[in-house]
Every structure is written in C-alpha cells, then in structure tokens.
C-alpha cells in the first residue's frame, strides 16, 4: 500500500470547505466570482461541485443519546429475541467525544449526566389492564417522571418505561409536531419482547430534536412481534388500526 498521505485524496482544485461555502452562499462576492470563472474552465471542479449538492432528504433530527454500543446492543438484543427484563437500571451518559469537543470549541465540558429509572412508588401502580407507558425527562442535571402533557425542551433527554401485565411485545411510536410519525422503540422492524413487570426501562434513550410543539406517543403492547413500518405509516395518516392481539396507550408532551 502506498502512503495515502503522500498526496491529496481530494480530486478538485478547491477544497470541500470552499465549495460548501459557495453552495451555502457564504463566500464573499469576489471569491464566489473567482470560483465561477474557474468552474467555467475546469470540468473536474464542476463535477466535484455537483457531487456536493444536497441529494436525498435528511432523516428527522432525533438522536439516541445512549452510547453507540448501548444502542446497538439494544437493537441486537431486540432482534435476537431477548426480553427487556425487570429491574434494569439504565444510565444515560454523554458521549465520550462531547467532552474533548467542548474543550476544542472553547467551552466548558458538560458535567456527566446520569439518568436512573426508579421503580414506581406504590401510588403510581395501576390497576385494570395494567399496560402503561411512562416517560422520564432529564433537563440539565434534573431528572423527573413526566406527567401527561408535560412541557419539555429541545435537547432534553427522555427515556420510556413500560408496565406490562404479562410477557408480550412492545413498541413506542410518535407523531411529532410536524405530523411525522416515527418509531422510538425498538430499533428493529418489529415490536420487541418484554417480560411482565412494573416500569420496565426500555433500553434506549432519545434526545429531543429542535422541533417545538405537541408530540403524541403511542405505545403498543401485543401478543406477537407485529411489524412496525405499516403501523408507523398508518399513524402518520391518522388511521392507525390496532392489529389483533394489541392494546395501546398514549402519552403526549409539549416541546417549548
């Protein structure tokens, strides 16, 4: 293998940063004009610039705030049919990279975050069908159990917990303020197995995006690992019909 740093791997006369600034209208008039003149006579740069134009639409801004390994393991666990067990204690910590990044950006390193789901107090236990969805919110250093209609802030970390009356399969879907539906849990294509228990923490957290407004959560508890893509599509169209063997519960919160 030749030394890959012996020469530039970039194929054009101007850098990607320069092209990006041009495409985003951030170059000075003089620099932009100079680049236009160059592009008129350089097919290689023209081709490179065209390749940098935005193509496919971006996914919604929604970040799993748990570590990559944790999230991946959660997805694998769900895919492998492992149940979310009772008594789990889950921690939500900032990514390792955020601290050096903060330092590099000249800002103070964020304090380590820790979100621990607690067992519900006796007064919170439910009767009836027993299926319930709870949400915990971390805002700054404070963690609270969200009440229905809770107000949260963009950037807050949230984590869900399920009370399941029996072993089954669970999923949490959402319709955001822009009426887009997405699947919060699980990462896989089908509802994930869960054991019976109170306030079982789902093994992945989410950090809320910048979209403000009211968000509606729908949790499903099913007797089979139902496919989630058609349910997500139906939810987005406001026409969700529960599959046989499923029950639902709802929670809404407001991002301000």
């Amino acid at each position: 293998m030749n030394n890959p740093f012996a020469e530039s791997l970039w194929p054009a006369c101007y850098s990607g940063l320069h092209f990006d600034r041009f495409l985003l209208g951030e170059l000075s008039k003089g620099d932009a004009e100079e680049l236009r003149l160059h592009l008129a006579g350089c097919a290689r740069c023209t081709a490179c610039l065209e390749s940098l134009r935005p193509g496919e639409p971006l996914p919604p801004l929604r970040v799993a705030a748990t570590g990559a390994g944790q999230a991946a393991e959660a997805g694998q666990a769900a895919g492998a049919g492992q149940a979310v067990g009772a008594g789990q204690v889950l921690a939500l910590r900032p990514r390792r990279w955020t601290r050096p990044l903060a330092a590099a950006a000249g800002i103070a390193a964020a304090a380590s975050l820790l979100l621990v789901l607690r067992a519900p107090a006796p007064s919170e236990r439910r009767k009836g069908s027993g299926f319930a969805l709870a949400m915990y919110v971390q805002h700054g250093e404070a963690v609270r159990r969200a009440a229905p209609g809770e107000s949260v802030a963009p950037g807050d970390a949230v984590r869900f917990a399920i009370t399941a009356p029996a072993a089954g399969y669970v999923a949490v879907l959402t319709v955001d303020p822009e009426k887009r539906a997405s699947i919060y849990f699980p990462l896989g294509d089908r509802a994930a197995p869960i054991s019976a228990g109170l306030d079982l923490a789902l093994p992945q957290g989410t950090r809320l995006d910048a979209t403000t407004g009211e968000e509606h959560l729908t949790a499903l508890f099913c007797t089979a690992p139902v496919e989630l893509a058609p349910l997500r599509a139906a939810l987005e169209q406001g026409a969700l019909q529960l599959p046989d063997g499923c029950q639902e519960t709802h929670l809404r919160f407001v991002k301000r």
């Binding site: 740093f5 970039w10 900032p94 990044l101 590099a104």
Partner: protein, 157 residues
C-alpha cells in the same frame, strides 16, 4: 453566537447534508454516518453557544472530532477494513480510504484532524489553520508528522 433551537433546526436542514457527506467518507459506514449526523446536532442542542462565528466551520470540526473518536474506538484494524463503504469517497478507492481510516485511528488527534482537512477535504494550509486555530507553520508540522507516520506504517506493512 448562541443559536436558538429553531435556528439549530434550520441549520440541520441547510447544513446537515455536509455533516452526513463528510461522516460517510470518514466512517465508511452508512449507519455510523447517520449516527454522526445525529450526534453532531445533539451536541449543538446541548451547547448552542458553541458555534462561534462560523456554523459551517464548527460543523466541520465537530464532525471530524466525532468521527476520529469513533475510528479510535474501533477495536481492531480488521473491523476498519471490513466496514462497508457506502459510496466512493470522491476520487479515492474504498481500499485507500480503509487504509486512511486505519492510519487516522492511530494518529494523535491534532495530527489526524489536520490530515483529514488537508488530504481528505483538500483544504489549503490556510484553511486548515483557520479551522484548527493555529498557524500555517503548525499545520505544516502536523501534516509532516502524518506523512512520516504513514510512511512508517507503509514500511512495516
């Protein structure tokens, strides 16, 4: 400059593709590039004052920083080489980019960042110096260290 959450949402829509494109090149994995996209903007939501005077420059630095950390966290060189490249990185072949990732994972952070900006993004020393906040001479020094380390790796291969 402190961005509002609305401004960060707008920035995601206008600049997010830049983050995703560079993360694809640096990580060689679509899923990890998507993760980088989300994490970079999550960091901005957590620290909206971090951007400074240039949002694009901050996004370049944040993406580079995140991806280099991820590369360093990969346990083995085998995994680096196995990572499926979703698309060719400009003119460089998938094999060359796999080798570049392997090298980057072993370089000190400032050396690796300079190498990314200059060799992968095609920046001039002046542009690299602007992003790293150092002198052009320092950039030259960092790039020479990268070249020497790559040459050492080439000899031992």
């Amino acid at each position: 400059m402190r961005l509002s959450s609305l401004a960060i949402g707008q920035l995601y829509r206008s600049h997010g593709h830049v983050v995703l494109r560079r993360a694809r090149i640096l990580m060689g994995s679509e899923s990890e590039a998507q993760e980088a996209l989300q994490e970079v903007f999550a960091a901005l939501l957590r620290e909206p004052e971090a951007v400074g005077s240039s949002a694009l420059g901050w996004l370049y630095r944040a993406t580079t920083h995140f991806c280099l950390n991820q590369l360093r966290n990969r346990r083995t060189g085998a995994r680096l080489l196995e990572a499926a490249a979703p698309r060719p990185a400009h003119g460089a072949s998938a094999e060359v980019m796999a080798e570049v990732r392997s090298l980057l994972s072993r370089l000190p952070p400032d050396v690796a960042a300079a190498a990314v900006y200059h060799h992968v993004d095609g920046m001039t020393h002046t542009e690299v110096a602007g992003l790293l906040g150092c002198s052009r001479r320092q950039v030259g020094y960092l790039l020479e260290r990268a070249r020497l380390q790559a040459a050492g790796a080439e000899k031992s291969a």
